[in-house]
């Protein structure tokens, strides 16, 4: 043997790791995923951006379209309108959601489970639905029109009310999570120091939930500013960016201006997205692993007040749905109040008839199955691949982009990209496939993050053990990773299914006569004045989503029971 080696030997050979079969398979998988995401996300967006810089004939005109946009007061005003609506809706939604979440997490009121369930109902409906209900309630022939004291519902008031209803559950979920992470020890410390309840609220509760509330603000703001269903139905003459995109493209066939407005719409969405990312990164260290969960103690008066609040909010949510259901069974509001199924005879009306409902079911099923497979496997690859760092970060970034892209913008980008005669993929245009691709992409990020969270909770050494035992990674993926992650996989598929059922914004640009969808049918029937049928189709969507949710809950419970022996909760 050599004696002591004390200097860095320059002769030491650099390692040139040989890739294993697993590595090759994963790298190819990653490349395939990268190509998929490029086609589904990056290239369409690129096409959209370049479209905004062209004139009608396709010649490059630089920023001329943008100049025209800012010089046209009708268009330019929409920015102001959109921001106003978004800010007001955000403030109202967050306030209501905070109190509601506070009641659910910090009080001992009875019926928390039911109240939480009621609050989630709006997720099951397309955003068009609350708007239709509001028309029935406060419209020209509204049931309780007088409440508005002469103000019209067709405009900002209606839009804000609809948006608050529709975004409420999204804000609630985030704020509940933030409030549940309370550390009981901080409250005990405050109490032992004789701190008043109010001061404790401002010094302990609010700072603890701060990031959750901010995050919820961004989510609601983005949802509102990019939503198109509510303003479309109830906006009247009040223009917002989202309806402008639709009008430019569908109404005036002015694709270039549509692209410009789409990009303007992209700006606040991207900014909110970036701000939220930065804030979430800060949140990580906020709660320590040693935190003791907070359990509220019964306080009769407070609990009753909280329950009263939840009853009011819950009543309004159910009321909106009930009005829609009621309207769908009425012969002709307000003249003929006979109950009828006439409005459900969709085949008699424009919008695709029952075929559109069947299409929606097919599309949602494909989206749920194909989307879950792609997204979960993709998240696994991103999480577990060894080396290949540049491609990996690139793909990871592409997985996050869709969250910042409003549905309308994505749909518009799909027209430009897939309808281009030079695109070899043009054949998917107008098919069910493009609807599925678009919807999977639209809801990619949230599902990807769910999958990533589940994968991160698994022991990182499973793959190392498999390697040492010479078991290929895909066997361990199939035998261990997938079974352990079944709850997350179910969550992703249900999320994709329900969103595919309710989404309007992305698909409204790319459906064809053969692939009409239920949610689009709601829009088109409303447009054609068949409001009762629009309400009826809306109810079909709500009931289908609710049914699938119930199925999901039963399945989850069954799996929990079957895996009780090994799943440690």
């Amino acid at each position: 043997m050599t004696e002591g080696v004390t200097t860095l030997s320059a002769a030491a050979p650099l390692a040139r790791p040989i890739l294993s079969r697993d590595d090759w398979i994963m790298r190819w998988g990653m490349l395939v995923l990268g190509v998929w995401l490029s086609v589904a996300v990056v290239l369409p967006l690129y096409t959209l951006l370049s479209k905004g810089l062209e004139d009608h004939a396709g010649r490059f005109v630089g920023l001329a379209n943008f100049a025209e946009f800012f010089a046209t007061p009708v268009l330019f005003n929409s920015i102001y309108n959109s921001l106003t609506i978004a800010i007001i809706s955000t403030v109202i939604t967050i306030t209501l959601a905070f109190v509601y979440a506070y009641a659910l997490t910090r009080s001992c009121m009875p019926g928390k489970g039911i109240f939480k369930g009621i609050a989630m109902v709006p997720i099951l409906a397309p955003s068009l639905l609350p708007a239709i209900s509001l028309v029935y309630l406060f419209g020209n022939q509204g049931m309780i029109k007088g409440v508005l004291m002469g103000e019209t519902i067709y405009g900002p008031i209606g839009i804000v009310m609809g948006e608050v209803f529709w975004t409420f559950p999204h804000a609630l979920i985030i704020i509940i999570t933030a409030l549940s992470m309370a550390d009981a020890r901080l409250y005990e410390a405050a109490e032992s120091l004789g701190t008043s309840k109010l001061r404790t609220f401002f010094t302990v509760t609010l700072p603890g939930a701060r990031y959750g509330v901010i995050s919820a603000c961004f989510v609601v703001f983005t949802l509102v500013i990019t939503d198109f269903g509510v303003p479309k139905v109830i906006g009247g003459q009040y223009n917002v960016l989202a309806t402008d995109v639709y009008k430019q493209v569908i109404g005036q066939q002015n694709f270039q201006m549509g692209a410009v407005v789409g990009m303007v719409l992209l700006v606040p969405a991207v900014l909110a997205f970036i701000a939220d990312r930065i804030i979430q990164r800060k949140q990580v260290a906020l709660i320590s692993a040693r935190a003791v969960p907070y359990h509220p103690k019964p306080k009769t008066r407070f609990d009753m007040a909280m329950m009263g609040f939840c009853c009011v909010v819950g009543f309004m949510i159910l009321g909106i749905i009930a009005v829609d259901a009621f309207a769908s069974f009425i012969q002709l509001w307000p003249y003929n109040l006979t109950l009828t199924l006439y409005n459900y005879d969709f085949d008699l009306r424009d919008g695709g008839g029952w075929a559109s409902y069947r299409n929606s079911i097919v599309m949602a099923s494909y989206t749920a199955v194909i989307g879950t497979v792609i997204i979960f496997s993709g998240a696994y690859l991103v999480e577990k691949i060894r080396g290949f760092t540049v491609i990996r970060s690139l793909v990871q970034f592409m997985c996050i982009i869709p969250l910042a892209v409003p549905g309308l913008v994505l749909g518009l980008a799909y027209i430009f990209f897939f309808n281009h005669p030079d695109n070899p993929l043009e054949f998917v245009y107008g098919t069910m496939a493009i609807l599925v691709i678009c919807t999977v992409t639209h809801f990619y990020t949230v599902s990807h993050l769910t999958a990533t969270t589940a994968l991160k909770q698994m022991d990182p050494e499973f793959e190392a053990v498999s390697m040492s035992l010479k078991v290929p990674f895909y066997k361990t993926f199939w035998r261990v990773t997938v079974p352990v992650c079944v709850p997350a996989i179910l969550d992703i598929s249900i999320y994709l299914f329900v969103n595919a059922m309710t989404t309007v914004s992305a698909v409204v640009f790319i459906y064809s006569a053969d692939t009409t969808l239920a949610s689009v049918a709601v829009l088109n029937m409303d447009d054609a004045g068949e409001v009762a049928s629009a309400a009826a189709m809306g109810m079909m969507i709500v009931c289908t989503s609710a049914g699938v949710r119930v199925l999901h809950a039963l399945l989850t419970r069954g799996i929990a029971r079957a895996s009780q022996a090994w799943r440690v909760c």
Binding site: D23, L469, K475, S563
Partner: protein
């Protein structure tokens, strides 16, 4: 820095199994391992010992091929494996987290690597039973990992790692997640298993007691380099430098100056060192090191070699012995830690505040040049 010791018991013919040559591992600008060279012999139980962040796990993962080194060579059983992926190397591995597959039964976990080897079902069943018997869990095969205690889970992980009869067993802090008592028990179990199977084993640990009790040889690591390689007794008795002495066991470290071929001065005291001063020249600043248990208190005559008067400023009862903090006028500000047996404390009625005569036996004093 790095010294390649020949194994202490070099008489018998030992075959080299693992040859690690000039391994360097960088993560960006951070050098996690710096030019590590080491030989490991067939059937040896080796411990990589060091504080967290010293590179011991990085070295283990390089050997496993899980995080391949930046440069350097590794040979296993005469074959160059430097660039091979983990799946093509020959090892079994056990992690601190057990990494048992939660949805598979104990038997399925143990047989996980066998299913892939075109073994018959019966043969697999037999092998699994044999392994479960080996780790003392014969009747637990149909349970799920979550239904077992931590110690039992780690034994399942051990059985799983041994199932394919690997040539090398790698243990990454296998006992760190366990309770103190289970840890001591499993320590003996693993050691017994090693004696029985004779598989070359490398264990990473930050627990010096584990390393001292289990290892044939200990590799003490610090800041990405090997400080010393040797048997537990060598490491404890003859630490090569202050760092090793400080990390393995407790060490009194006093600053002093060389005053002769075998003497140093600490404060106002002149100490004889039987082991010499390691060829350091007079006037050289040194660290004078001595283990607390070597400090003599019984039968120390005033004026004897290396003896002086000290006051017990603190006396801690640690169960099987007392740990005393001593102050001496002649040492100035420097304090000495000394371990006294229960007997000594009782017989000599040692107590806080008492002034006693102590001696630092010259043959146990070790001198290291001040860095």
């Amino acid at each position: 820095m790095v010294t390649q010791e020949t194994p202490a018991e070099s008489g018998n013919q030992r075959t080299r199994y693992l040859k690690i040559e000039n391994i360097t591992k960088k993560f960006g600008d951070f050098v996690a391992l710096q030019d590590i060279s080491l030989d490991i012999y067939k059937g040896e139980f080796i411990c990589f010992l060091g504080p967290s962040g010293c590179g011991k796990t990085t070295l283990l993962r390089a050997i496993a091929g899980l995080d391949i080194q930046t440069s350097g060579r590794i040979e296993q059983g005469g074959k160059d494996i430097s660039n091979l992926p983990a799946a093509e190397r020959n090892f079994g591995i056990v992690f601190q987290s057990y990494a048992l597959f939660p949805n598979l039964t104990v038997s399925k976990n143990v047989g996980y690597g066998l299913v892939n080897r075109r073994m018959g079902k019966a043969a697999i069943g037999e092998r699994v039973a044999e392994l479960l018997d080996l780790v003392g869990l014969s009747d637990q095969g149909s349970k799920y990992p979550a239904q077992l205690s931590g110690g039992e889970q780690q034994r399942v992980a051990l059985a799983r790692a041994l199932a394919t009869s690997p040539g090398l067993l790698l243990l990454d802090e296998p006992l760190s997640a366990l309770d103190a008592k289970v840890r001591v028990f499993l320590r003996q179990e693993i050691k017994a298993l090693h004696l029985r199977l004779g598989v070359t084993t490398i264990m990473v640990t930050h627990d010096q007691e584990e390393a001292l009790t289990m290892a044939d040889r200990i590799v003490v690591m610090n800041q990405g380099t090997i400080e010393q390689v040797g048997t537990p007794i060598e490491i404890y008795r003859n630490p090569m430098n202050r760092c090793v002495g400080d990390f393995v066991g407790i060490m009194n470290c006093l600053s002093g100056v060389v005053t002769g071929a075998a003497s140093v001065r600490v404060g106002a005291m002149e100490f004889d060192c039987a082991n010499g001063v390691g060829g350091l020249t007079e006037g050289q600043a040194v660290t004078v090191c001595l283990r607390p248990e070597e400090i003599a208190v019984r039968g120390v005559a005033s004026g004897g070699a290396n003896s002086f008067e000290a006051r017990i400023s603190r006396l801690e009862f640690l169960g099987s012995f007392y740990r005393a903090t001593l102050e001496a006028e002649r040492l100035g500000d420097m304090k000495i830690t000394a371990d006294f047996s229960i007997n000594e404390v009782r017989d000599l009625t040692l107590d806080e505040g008492a002034t006693i005569q102590i001696a630092l036996p010259g043959e146990h004093i070790r001198i290291f040049a001040e860095a």
